[in-house]
């Protein structure tokens, strides 16, 4: 079964520090991986997806098929990055549904 694991429920860093939110997945085929973000009192929204290889708000994520990981990184965290971050997986033939990890709450302290 498809599964997404985010081992850290909470992550706290200081402004300007690097941040890495971990995500591992379980799927034997070719997955599509995403990071969704939910800022306080806002809706879930797409942050980035692995197929586009883009950097959004300074965040990047590289799909590592050998380690089945898709960690989210930012070299210098900002206070406005504080939010819930969800790693998610979809796959061809999966009716485009997303399977989410449990989420990591990132707090960036001043």
């Amino acid at each position: 079964a498809q599964r997404v694991t985010q081992p850290e429920k909470l992550l706290s860093v200081f402004k300007g520090a690097p941040v890495e939110l971990k995500c591992n997945y379980s799927y034997s085929g070719s997955p599509e991986l995403f990071w969704y973000v939910q800022y306080s009192r806002q809706r879930l929204q797409l942050l980035l997806r692995h197929i586009s290889r883009e950097s959004i708000k300074g965040f990047t994520a590289d799909l590592n098929k050998g380690e089945t990981s898709f960690h989210l990184k930012k070299p210098f965290a900002q206070e406005e990055d504080s939010a819930m971050y969800y790693c998610a997986l979809s796959w061809q033939g999966g009716s485009e549904k997303l399977v989410f990890g449990k989420g990591t709450k990132l707090t960036v302290n001043p």
Binding site: R43, L44, I51, S95, E96, V99, G101, K102, G103
Partner: protein, 115 residues
């Protein structure tokens, strides 16, 4: 920018009562979903809907649950006889302008409290 809208934002109901949660997906989207998030837990897939029928449903989506797209714009989730454990945030999402773009657009959620 078009958004997915959900009503009500919060509903309190008695156990055993029927509840209908409403969603207006983005108009040219093809796939529609309901997810739920029990407090402190992860966002869980309930059901996906495509071409006017359920394309996939999870184990959670038992006979108490049903979905409908009655008029080409609304997408509803009905819980026939609510249980305490149905208390959760219910998110509607839509997506799929083209084949498997993968991006889903979520509503703000409807918080259901079952007493």
């Amino acid at each position: 920018e078009p958004e997915v809208t959900q009503t009500p934002s919060h509903q309190v109901t008695q156990m055993g009562q029927e509840v209908i949660l409403r969603c207006v997906p983005i108009s040219n989207h093809l796939y529609f979903y309901w997810y739920r998030q029990i407090l402190g837990q992860k966002v869980e897939f309930l059901v996906s809907f495509y071409n006017n029928e359920i394309s996939e449903k999870s184990e959670i989506f038992d006979d108490q649950f049903s979905v409908e797209r009655p008029d080409g714009s609304n997408f509803t989730l009905k819980i026939r006889s609510t249980k305490l454990e149905d208390s959760a945030m219910y998110f509607c999402a839509s997506g799929g302008l083209a084949a498997n773009t993968g991006e889903l657009f979520f509503g703000e959620g409807s918080r259901l409290t079952v007493l």
